[in-house]
Subunit: 216 residues, 2 copies
């Protein structure tokens, strides 16, 4: 059965983006440091059309973000282009003409928009009728493959609080941001129950995999 | 050279104690769940005069909390007895006549008090002139051994912000408390710089060791 999985990098003090996110600083002040563990990796560089790079204990993690994934769901903020209606010459995402997804991507938004077909198999679908609808559409196209849940924090929180997230891999980095978007916030009651299934010691990062614990 | 080391359990959402800490709930509501990974261990039970128990990947961590430690520093809140002056029949700690420290323990407080000698080599010294003084006194008695920094959050924050904490081992548990005492808070600017040196996958907990990064 298709499962919904998130992979997200969190600072040691709990943030997935720094303070004052903006078009100039999509990850907030200091937020780009969150991904320093990932950028030198061969697996990351290949996904962005570059050659060479390192292979280490983080490699399977990066390969797993989009490996065996038949669809991706992300928030409007991760897709980018600022809040509000899309306008006449709308934003086409941060990833250029050939985004690294190569499968359908469902963008959560309050503003309907026609699907946007890019090169390489990535088509952005804009979902204005809620997280359950996006998940249903994503699972329908993913078939036997899993669905990848991108950020940001608010998107992950909504799926986690609704009990719809099957697995979350948190990559904890030794950075203290002091402010920004907290990952495990706004979860309501009762709190989601998670079970640790794996932890990986990698250069400059610890990857911890959690699955949703069945209801008691 | 003697080093100052903290070992502390943190919920996935960043808390080392739950909300509404009180004499009845010294770790706040739900906070005792933080230590569920530790309580079944032989190494923990032996320290509390009990027999039997489990041995797993967390065992060296528990043994390391007080192993090769010549002194401990803790906050008034961890020592307990409520805030304010000590009174006529003062609180003697949570640990009975024979506390598991077996070395001098320096308790940070605003209220001076005579040293309190317990059985088994533990003497509580009450330090009213600041964290640097407590560290100096602890290192003096520790000699070539290290100094263990206990909690709570505020005590760890003060030593971390002052650049006096050499190592912190954070045991991350898959619990969401939603409120309480945040470990990595109130750290000021510039933020402490940490380097990850080790991560250990253990049942129900991931132990991550960080050392203070030298100034750039």
């Amino acid at each position: 059965m298709s499962r919904l999985k998130a992979t997200i990098t969190m600072s040691l003090d709990g943030f997935v983006a720094g303070p004052e996110q903006s078009e100039k600083d999509p990850l907030g002040i200091g937020g780009e440091r969150l991904h320093e563990w990932m950028v030198p990796l061969k697996a990351f560089r290949e996904g962005h059309g570059e050659q060479g790079g390192e292979v280490n204990a983080s490699t399977p993690i990066v390969e797993g973000i989009l490996g065996n994934m038949g669809a991706t769901i992300m928030g409007r903020n991760m897709f980018g282009g600022g809040p509000g209606p899309w306008g006449d010459d709308p934003w086409k995402g941060y990833w250029g003409d050939d985004p690294p997804y190569h499968h359908p991507v469902f963008v959560l938004t309050r503003y309907p928009r026609e699907p946007l077909e890019m090169a390489g198999g990535t088509t952005f679908h804009f979902v204005a009728d809620g997280i359950e609808s996006a998940l249903e559409q994503a699972k329908a196209v993913a078939g036997v493959q899993d669905v990848s849940l991108g950020g940001g924090a608010s998107t992950v929180q909504q799926y986690l609080a609704a009990g719809l997230l099957d697995e979350i891999l948190v990559s904890v980095v030794p950075i203290l941001l002091g402010g920004g978007a907290r990952l495990f916030d706004n979860l309501g009651e009762p709190k989601p129950r998670l079970r640790q299934t794996q932890a990986i010691d990698a250069p400059g990062v610890t990857h911890i995999r959690y699955v949703r614990e069945a209801e008691a």
